[in-house]
Amino acid sequence: MRQWFSVVWAFAVRDARIQASLKMGLFISASSALLALVPFFFIANMIGAGASSVLAAYGGDYFAFVLLGLAAGRYMNAAVAGFAGRIRSEQQEGTLEAMLSSPISLSAFLAGSLVWELVWTTAEVGLYLVIGQFVFSAHLGNANLLSLMVVLVLGLACLSALGLLSACGVLIYKEADPIGWGLSGIMRLLGGVYFPVSLLPSHLQAAAAFLPLTHFLEGLRQAVLQGRTLAELKPTLLLLLGLALILWPLGGAAFSAALRHLKRAGTLSFRS
């Protein structure tokens, strides 16, 4: 177990060093967060109190509502597209083959590949929330931090599992991420990033209920905007846990099968 954590830590150190070599990374993240929030601040002002009845379950403020939607969208990008993109880059650079010829376990490889992406995204999301609260006066003061942490862990477990499926597509098709593109697009549209799922037609609401992002966002908003306790969030948390328990074995098995396919096809390393 100690060796497992050492390996995951080595991945995190590697990625932190690469991140540190990208001098503009922090500046770009900060300015992107600011630029992403500005249009929604004005849209929220334009909507004003008009949306308060639709958003009553979330405190009535559209800007705070969409701020958390954007935060969850960042996590989705990191876990799904970010992870798949990283794996593709490793395949092209030959580092995937080098890693998989070493004695590391698949679980250490997957956890290691994800850990920095999620840590960095958490820093970015923190920046979104700080800018949202202190620059644009979003009301986030009611947050229940324990509930937030649990929702984050379970939500990221679900999204990361989708990232594994997405990475399988990248590894096998050796081109842009078809699975991640489809999953992210559908979740962004139906998952409640920009507007409440309750506004969707009933058949799309039913479809949205199968998406991890829907429940992740619901839990996130209830924990941060309404300060819900773990007991109050129990149904959402159980749903997220159930989805994680289904998706992780599925994603892990698919990823293992993809690696076996690459070993047969001789494309563990592949220059496009």
Binding site: F11, S21, G94, T95, A98, M99, K263
Partner: protein, 244 residues
């Protein structure tokens, strides 16, 4: 002391016209504690054979045994036993220094940063690794190749699989690599199998595996193969074609 036995190995890759046969029915038995050179034209199956031995490529048919164990069943034990360096895909992080790259890959084998530092120091004389703290992307092609060889030796593997170890090297550095093979890697506890196009590399080998279009032409003691008329003729022709 790894004893490598290859039985009726076949590997095909899909292509636009069906499939390309990289290896066909290849069987060899490589005695341990020796230096083996795999030679053959481009596309003869040298790299495929090395990758199958290392477990990063699956054969379509046939088996490879390491000390009597099927390599596809060895898992982590195979990874710890093998040091693979394939030049066409070096697999280093361009933005990290050579040292940080090796610290990362070393950690995958359970090595600490101090272990890696000690390895770099011990290999510095043999491989002339230059400044380990410069970003890898600033290294010359020859230096990148030497870091690749260094990485494959980090965990002190018993079976060393090198694909064109002297690729991109000037004569001085190529001689250093050959000296490393002859003086440090030729020992009872380790077996070296290297694919090569270079006559001077061949001179360091104890035995030769000669592949042609995926088929085994000959294998055995270097002196025997090297004095074979067909081998001499092939080597001369491939030199004239500019391959070795």
């Amino acid at each position: 002391m790894p004893h490598v036995k290859v039985e009726r190995l076949t590997k095909r890759f899909p292509s636009a016209n069906g499939s390309i046969t990289a290896l066909q029915d290849v069987s060899v038995e490589l005695a341990p504690g020796r230096i083996w050179a795999i030679v053959g034209d481009n596309g003869a199956g040298k790299t495929s054979l090395l990758k199958i031995l290392a477990g990063v490529l699956r054969a379509d048919a046939g088996s490879v045994y390491l000390d009597g164990n099927d390599v596809t069943r060895l898992g982590k034990r195979l990874a710890m036993a093998v040091g693979l360096a394939v030049s066409d895909t070096p697999g280093f992080y361009e933005r990290l220094s050579g040292r940080h790259n090796l610290e990362f890959f070393g950690a995958l084998y359970g090595l600490t940063a101090a272990d890696v530092r000690a390895s770099i120091e011990s290999l510095e004389q043999a491989l002339a690794l230059g400044d380990p703290d410069r970003p890898y992307q600033t290294y010359s092609a020859g230096l990148k190749q030497r870091w690749l060889l260094a990485r494959s030796l980090l965990h002190q593997p018993a079976l060393i699989l090198w694909d064109e170890p002297t690729r991109s090297q000037d004569p001085q550095h190529a001689a250093k690599i050959r000296a490393l093979i002859s003086n440090q890697l030729r020992k009872p506890g380790s077996t070296v199998i290297m694919a090569t196009h270079h006559r001077e590399d061949l001179a360091t080998a104890d035995g030769i595996v000669w592949l042609s279009q995926g088929k085994l032409r000959a294998f055995g003691e270097r002196q025997l193969i090297d004095s074979d008329a067909a081998f001499i003729s092939w080597w001369r022709l491939s030199q004239e074609a500019g391959q070795p």
